[in-house]
């Protein structure tokens, strides 16, 4: 029996057009050849998927490697290295049928043994991959059935597995090369991908070349991809204008103002990055629900969206933006109501006002948001001091608890469990808010072991209602960002995880 896979078209009937899916760039039909130069603020530390942690590493990983399954533009799960899959009746055994005739870039055959090896490595305590904590609660073991069939034995039924196999845990690494190259594998990776990593000059660029033995016939179109290091988005925009680069992303709505009407450049929006402020809810002062509510009512999220995103983002009432199947339109957070905020502040025990430090990392959006928050909170008698903090230190301090009150942001994951569990389950490894709600825990645990979409949707709705009511965080906005491309680049589509995929792009002459 084929269990309902995440992302059935019906379930996405409510998908707001264009909100998360991207516009397909309508350039001419695919042309072969050429070099695509991408500008990127690259903070990659390693291109070994087993140890990859940084966001920007995946830009290159998706070129040098394939995943077992891939994401569609609506986060639906599509075949890639796995052609199809079947789920057992009890949901605890998933058998993947692998695409035949695939080889790694070093000639090693890609087969069930390779898949088993990949997963085993990630779960191995000695290897100590950061992905172990993602797979351990789900996968009991992996069996090789035959050359092209591999079975995952699960601890509990888990729809979450599919979304994991479309990103970091799903990148299939050549066992031969990995064992042979050891630590050097990080800069000389070998996968099954459409491009081979030829050169990595740290701080300068990454050069990838077409894989002549790539298994997807017809692909890739490009001969070469160069990922050039950028110091910032402004430089990216300038280089795009002069034609030095063909593609740059992570541009804010303000960054693209100079190129909005420019001929030869096309803009491609992506929305959904979730911005919120968080605090520790298990200790004073923010263990006081009324105080938290006062903050929530004082904040004018519309204005945040208008000023920092030029109105192109959207107000956030909860963790999920419109367009994802686990979005609940009935969910509303505390509305902007300064009078109510002042009343609640007094009820909370601070009739004469309240002062606190707000951590401010050196990220433009955070600095802008924080200054606006400061202004809005001041109007109800809450005095917020902006504490600048170095970017490199910021998240570390959030994790070790020295920072209490801070803005933060997360990109969306293919499965609701992806963000909701790690952030809001009492055992979630990114739960730096120290949020503990037994009901939420139960709901999240249930939802991650059920394949039935309507049931999952209901469970996540309930969980999100509780979370939004409890305010371990104050939801702010969903950001809008842009990719800007030269008009002769074709085939680009955004995936809602906001990692640009370059594999299927082409470049026409001009």
């Amino acid at each position: 029996m084929r269990a309902p896979v995440i992302g059935r078209r019906q379930a996405l009937a409510g998908l707001a057009a264009g909100l998360l899916a991207s516009r397909v760039v309508h350039a001419a039909t695919p042309t072969r050849g050429g070099t695509l130069t991408v500008g990127l603020a690259n903070d990659a530390k390693t291109y070994d998927p087993i140890f990859s942690v940084q966001f920007t590493e995946r830009h290159v990983l998706y070129l040098a490697f394939n995943t077992l399954v891939r994401y569609g533009t609506d986060f639906s799960i599509q075949p890639e290295l796995a052609d199809s899959w079947t789920t057992s009746a009890d949901g605890k055994r998933i058998v993947f049928s692998l695409h035949p005739g695939v080889t790694f870039q070093d000639g090693t055959a890609f087969d069930a043994e390779a898949v088993k090896w990949n997963i085993d490595q990630r779960m191995d305590k000695v290897v100590n991959s950061p992905q172990r904590q993602l797979l351990e609660p789900i996968v009991a073991s992996v069996d090789v059935i035959d050359r092209l069939h591999v079975a995952f034995n699960l601890i509990e039924p888990s729809p979450v597995l599919f979304s994991l196999l479309g990103e970091r845990p799903g990148f299939m690494v050549s066992p031969t090369a990995w064992k042979q190259r050891g630590p050097a594998f990080a800069s000389q990776p070998v996968g099954t991908g459409a491009f081979v990593l030829k050169e990595w000059v740290r701080g300068s660029q990454v050069v990838l070349e077409r894989n002549p033995t790539y298994w997807q016939t017809g692909l890739p179109y490009l001969d070469r991809i160069v990922v050039q290091d950028l110091a910032g988005s402004v430089i990216g925009v300038q280089r795009l204008m002069t034609g030095e680069i063909d593609f740059v992303s992570e541009l804010s709505p303000t960054d693209v103002r100079p190129i909005e009407k420019r001929t030869g450049i096309v803009l491609n929006p992506i929305k959904g990055r979730w911005y919120f402020t968080q605090w520790h809810v298990n200790t004073a002062p923010f263990d006081n629900a009324k105080l938290r509510q006062a903050f929530a009512h004082a904040i004018d999220r519309d204005r945040l969206n208008e000023i920092t995103m030029r109105g192109q983002g959207s107000v956030s009432d909860g963790p999920t933006p419109e367009g994802l199947w686990w979005y609940d339109p009935a969910l509303k957070s505390y509305p902007h109501d300064p009078a109510r905020a002042k009343a609640l502040l007094a009820e909370a025990g601070y009739p004469d006002g309240f002062a606190y430090d707000l951590s401010t990392p050196q990220v433009t959006v955070f600095q802008q948001v924080n200054q606006l928050l400061q202004e809005q909170l001041a109007e109800v008698g809450i005095k917020v001091r902006l504490q600048p903090i170095a970017n490199s230190e910021w998240y570390a301090r959030v994790v070790d608890g020295t920072t209490n009150f801070t803005p933060t942001r997360w990109t969306q994951r293919a499965d609701p469990d992806g963000l909701l569990y790690i952030l809001f389950h009492s055992k979630g490894f990114a739960n730096t808010m120290k949020y503990r709600n037994a009901q939420v825990d139960t709901l999240l645990e249930q939802a991650r072991t059920v394949y039935d979409m309507p049931i999952r949707k209901r469970l996540y709705s309930e969980a999100q209602q509780l979370i939004v009511r409890d305010l371990p965080m104050v939801p702010l906005i969903f950001g809008a960002e842009y990719a800007a491309l030269r008009a002769n680049v074709g085939g680009f589509e955004w995936i809602p995880d906001q990692i640009p995929r370059f594999r299927d792009l082409w470049k026409t002459a001009n």
Binding site: S233, V234, P258, R303, T360, Q362, L372, P388
Partner: protein
């Protein structure tokens, strides 16, 4: 030089007036955000708005306060350290002088901005720290200058003192050396103010100034750097203000030397 003196004085006077009268002078609230972001100059916003919709002109006017406070404060601290050291070195001969000269030479060669950078990052950037750090970085040239002047005066006075009956070192310093050194010190004070404003603006530009939402010239230039193609005044206006202020103090100081 006389023209320079007048222009310098005019500039300083103007900046001082602006700083003191800021609340009355500024057309708008420098901290009030608005939905008209990065607008070019218009009737309501003479220098346009910044990325949060705030009036650039008002922020520039308020920025004069922080700049003058840091400039004058840091120069004062530098004087407090450098002048005594210079006086002592220039008045006493022998080993004391040699030791102090070695100390001064060592510090003079070090890059001031780099030192200020390291220390500021460690102690955190706020008004008080910036004044102290900059003062601590600026004293060596002052000490050297004062020492040189003290030496010159001392040569002239020595003979006299030798003839006079038993005046102590302190007395000589107070009654002879100091008056001779004073004009140079006064001129140098102005130059130090200009240097302090220069360096603090550079620190702010690197992200180590008084944190937002403070209206601080260097910080404004930094924030506006990303938006040169949209509203260049966000950077150019405070940058020009810094340059003008530095120039004013510098010209006055050098014209008296």
């Amino acid at each position: 030089m006389r023209i320079g003196r007048s222009i310098g004085a005019a500039v300083i006077a103007a900046i001082a007036v602006v700083a003191l009268a800021a609340p009355g002078l500024a057309p708008q609230d420098p901290y009030r955000s608005g939905v008209a972001m990065l607008d070019l100059p218009s009737a309501t916003h003479w220098l346009g708005t910044d990325d949060l919709g705030r009036d650039v002109l008002s922020r520039m006017i308020y920025g004069a306060r922080a700049s003058l406070a840091i400039g004058i404060g840091a120069a004062a601290v530098a004087m407090l350290i450098g002048v005594p050291i210079g006086l002592v070195a220039g008045t006493m001969r022998g080993r004391v002088d040699l030791a102090l000269v070695a100390l001064i030479d060592l510090f003079i060669a070090l890059p001031g901005l780099v030192l200020a950078l390291i220390i500021t990052v460690m102690v955190g950037a706020n008004l008080r720290n910036l004044i102290i750090v900059l003062g601590a970085v600026m004293w060596p040239p002052i000490a050297r200058l004062v020492r040189g002047q003290a030496l010159a005066v001392r040569e002239a006075v020595f003979v006299e003192a030798a003839r006079a009956t038993g005046g102590t070192q302190v007395w000589i310093i107070r009654h002879h050396i100091w008056p001779g050194v004073l004009p140079v010190v006064a001129a140098q004070f102005s130059i130090s103010v200009s240097f302090a404003i220069f360096t603090s603006a550079s620190l702010s530009f690197l992200g180590l100034g008084i944190p937002p939402p403070a209206a601080d010239w260097g910080g404004m230039v930094r924030a506006g750097y990303d938006y040169l193609a949209i509203n260049p005044w966000m950077s150019l206006a405070p940058g020009a203000a810094v340059s003008l202020t530095v120039m004013g103090f510098y010209v006055i100081g050098t014209s008296f030397k």
